[in-house]
């Protein structure tokens, strides 16, 4: 038992370290989830507010494991012809034309209709074969020899029907193509599903997945993330930025700034060569951090207070 525990723990720590090397700062929860997803061969449903790095997680995982990443962006109206496979109608059309011309040669020597039908039956059915199959992300992920990381992004944007259609793939890693039969995965791909919770995901789908919720990071973690992502930034500024963003997040906003916005903001600071965060700068660049007019107005009025709270001295007086 202890040996097993150690193995699991070691593996999880290895995952953590691996991510960190790639610049993706995760935590034990995330690493545990990934470890389980690999071990149990179960898809991982990742939820959380936009911009906390759900998609990034899948990318980092692909890189970490050295696998191809195949991404399927969901939207309303997505169906299997776009997600799974499609027949290449143009090619099929050409094929029939070619067949028409050759038909005369082929049918030579047959005297009756029955005979030619019998001859025709002897040909293999190429019309619906892999030759004419245009693979789409899901099928690609299943056919990949070494396995792959399949990212089904924003599953909540798709329709109920598509969700139901995913069930077969997610539980058995196989799909049925009516004309060809069942395609089974050579090596089960590691599946990530992300959701922003615009719609409640069906229970059936949830049941098949492991569930990971990524919240906004705390100050310490956000600091590390910034360090990894924007290494040009000095310690002092980084602390200031993180503290300020964390304080903004406490406010009642339509869309609180996420990690990606923090990173953008930090890049802005670097780009503009700022040495201190002053009120003027903050006011001018709030639009990087906040994406709604009303939010920006809200925060603008509070800049002085926020700066005081985060121990920044407002260098310029606030009008």
């Amino acid at each position: 038992m202890t040996e097993m525990k150690n193995q699991a723990q070691d593996a999880i720590e290895a995952i953590l370290a691996g991510y960190e090397k790639l610049g993706y700062i995760s935590d034990e929860q995330i690493a545990t989830a990934l470890f389980l997803a690999q071990k149990l061969e179960k898809p991982l449903l990742v939820e959380g507010p936009p911009g906390v790095g759900k998609t990034e997680l899948a990318k980092a995982t692909a890189e970490y494991l050295g696998l191809d990443m195949i991404r399927l962006q969901c939207y309303e109206g997505l169906d299997e012809s776009k997600a799974l496979y499609e027949w290449q109608y143009g090619k099929q059309l050409l094929y029939t034309q070619v067949l028409k011309e050759k038909l005369g040669d082929l049918m030579q020597g047959t005297n009756s209709l029955d005979e030619s039908m019998a001859k025709l039956n002897n040909f293999e059915d190429v019309f619906f074969s892999e030759q004419f199959l245009q693979t789409r992300p899901l099928l690609q992920a299943l056919q990949n020899e070494d396995g792959a990381v399949l990212l089904i992004d924003e599953i909540d944007k798709s329709d109920d029907e598509f969700e139901a259609f995913l069930l077969e793939i997610l539980s058995d890693y196989q799909i049925s193509i009516p004309e060809l039969g069942t395609v089974k995965a050579k090596k089960p791909p590691l599946v990530f599903l992300t959701s922003n919770n615009t719609r409640e995901i069906g229970d059936a789908l949830k049941r098949r997945c492991l569930h990971l919720y990524i919240p906004f990071p705390d100050a310490a973690r956000e600091n590390t993330i910034l360090q990894a992502r924007v290494p040009e930034l000095n310690q002092q500024l980084r602390d200031n930025i993180v503290n300020f963003v964390q304080a903004v997040r406490q406010m009642d906003l339509k869309k609180p700034p996420a990690v990606s916005e923090t990173i953008d903001w930090a890049r802005t600071v670097v780009l503009l060569n700022m040495s201190v965060l002053d009120a003027e700068f903050i006011r001018n660049t709030l639009n990087v951090l906040l994406k709604f007019r009303s939010d920006i107005e809200n925060v603008e009025g509070e800049i002085a207070r926020l700066m005081r709270e985060t121990q920044l001295t407002p260098d310029t007086p606030i009008q």
């Binding site: 038992m1 097993m4 525990k5 699991a8 929860q29 059309l93 409640e200 049941r207 569930h211 919720y213």
Partner: protein, 498 residues
Amino acid sequence: MIADFIRILRAADIQVSPAEAIDAAAVIEEIGIGERRLLKHALGHTLAKTQFEKQSFDECFDIYFKPPEMNLGEATPTSDSGEAPEPDAPSQDSAGDATDDADGEEGEAQEGQPGDQPGAPTGEAKKTSKKSGDPASDETGEGEADTQRASLVDMLTQKDQAALQAAISEAAQKVGLADAKLFTQQGMFSRRIMESMGLAQLDAHIRQLEENGESGKADGLREGRGQLFEAVFDFVERQIAMRTKNAGRLLREDALSRIRLSNLDRSDMKIMRGLIQRLAKRLASRHSRQRKKSRRGMLDIRRTMRRNVAYDGNLFELSWRRTKVERPKLLVLCDVSGSVAAVSQFFLMFLYSLDEVMPKTRSFVFSNRAGEISDMMRDGDMDQVMEQALREFGGGSTDYGMSMMDFAEATLDTIDHRTTVMILGDARSNYGDPGHLVLKEMHERARRVIWLNPEGESSWGTGDSEMKRLGAYCTHKQVCNSVKHVERVLDDLLRLST
């Protein structure tokens, strides 16, 4: 163990399917149970599938896997006892009950709830327990009790916390603590656990020590025994609390959904609101799915042909005839006077929770005059809206004639063959004009007119009730006075309209 834990999760409103239970078992196999934090994360990923569930999962996990606490021989032996309401009671009770048990009938002891003999002096009770109890109680769990006898004494003298905790957990399992449902069983289970751990033997040992004159040791043991009681009692309390936390609420919600809305207590409003929201969500998801279905249609051959002329008449692009989606256009008129107000309120609340599937709803309220509240409803807090509506349109005596006129004036032009008119009221017009002629006109134009009456069918048409006259111009008449009714009515409505 995992099965038991899952039972607790279910009690805490977390949906756990058998498949997920199997996953959980697999997870434990992978992770092992050595590392608590890791196990918590891992099980959390497997079992709790929403943020809300995650929260309750964390709570449950912490309580369930928290070992029974006790502080043996530390400087403050009573610091923990604050949690247990009556730290002395269990020891007396169980000692008292032990005598019952000793007399032979275990079943009797179960039924006779402990707690009735606080007067029995502890010492005496213990004495009887020992005297007559020794031979009898040894019968109950002979083999194990024997081995435990020494160990319980040892554990207490050595203050071996871990071993004691393990012993408590084990004993709890043996006496079936998992089946505990009620708080009143707390004393009984505590006593049984103690007995299973070898209480009688411990007492015997203490007495022996006393008789031998080693009163110092005896006192030490006695103190340990007291602490053990506290620990067990506290442990049982926590376990029962965890198991029963949600059972009560579920029971209450079920009852509330059936109760007549006019009889509702104010204190239940909050639960009610949550309940309605959930029911509405269920209804909405059921019907939005139906609507999606209508997007599939038959093959439209004419359009397909036309579209594929470019492909030499080969049919490559298909075109489908679409079924037209028809959302119900709903007009609601609600009586907000007196007894009907409560029902109206919940009806409207329900209706607006369904905004997603029924966006084209206009609602009016009346008592003597009718007025529209759709906009208020859309962005208002329900209490405020009701208050405002009552202030503006309530007050006077109910006047159906006048209100119907107002209603018709505002809406008659928009009523067409797609419109459903719903009226919620008791149809008691104070012997005035019931407005049946206006209703007749609406009935002729609208797709259907539904009358919801909070009164039972037997009182329709009695006294000043004009239900009979008004009912003549309704497509449906229904009794509606509980959340269950409201749900059914709206469900039917949505089904008809798709």
